[in-house]
Symmetry: C2
């Protein structure tokens, strides 16, 4: 069941990113439609872990959003080793950062694997890791 949580976390980040969620109850229903059934209590805990917060949108309405630091500032370092980028993040933030990186859809990135505070980014063959890092960094800054 440990995998369920991860999957759900991904789905949550995804939904938070793409839609305007105004309450955990709505999020719960959305998750239900994709076969992920949990209670509001669990979502409260998930959101806390994921650093997703209830913000005020441009329209003045409440809306859940990923905390801004995630998109850039919470990356502590980004080193290169061959065709791998090794990113260190604040504790527990690797998943969220990975999500952001994936969302960039950079051609030079084959995929990511995230642990708790470390993240591996696999650079595609024929791409310069240094260049990819630069693109990643730029893209991730908002």
């Amino acid at each position: 069941m440990y995998r369920e949580k991860e999957k759900r976390h991904q789905a949550i980040l995804d939904l938070v990113d793409r839609t305007n969620l105004s309450s955990q109850e709505i999020l719960r229903k959305m998750l239900k439609t994709i076969g992920l059934e949990v209670t509001q209590a669990t979502l409260s805990r998930d959101l806390k872990e994921l650093h997703v917060v209830k913000t005020i949108g441009e329209d003045g309405e409440y809306k859940y959003a990923i905390m801004e630091e995630i998109s850039g500032f919470q990356i502590a370092s980004c080193d290169i080793s061959g065709n791998l980028l090794v990113l260190h993040t604040d504790p527990g933030m690797a998943q969220a950062v990975a999500f952001r990186v994936d969302a960039l859809g950079l051609a030079g990135i084959l995929g990511t694997v995230a642990g708790d505070d470390t993240l591996l980014v696999v650079v595609a063959e024929g791409y310069d890791s240094r260049k990819v890092r630069k693109d990643l960094w730029q893209g991730v800054q908002k």
Copy 2:
């Protein structure tokens, strides 16, 4: 009484910035100690206006904080006219930005006056407005 609200908003931003507020009730009590008595309901509305959100701190505990965009991203423009900087912000954000600017404590800045979405920054004599703008911008990013 219109002035009370402004004063309170300043105080709120100040407290949010300096202390770890975990609930509106605590904020209410703090404000009370400095002679500002309002109900939780009013604070809920204040925080919405000020774009102050309940985030998760580094220690994993809940904590109110000014939304990050405020510190930089919500500045739409920053023009120079003589010894004045004229900043335009998103609607209702001028106060919050002014607070941030004041907090920088830059020697080249005499003071700020904020409306709703516009903010005047008075540059001290003997300082280059262009340089001050640069410092302000830099300081406000983060």
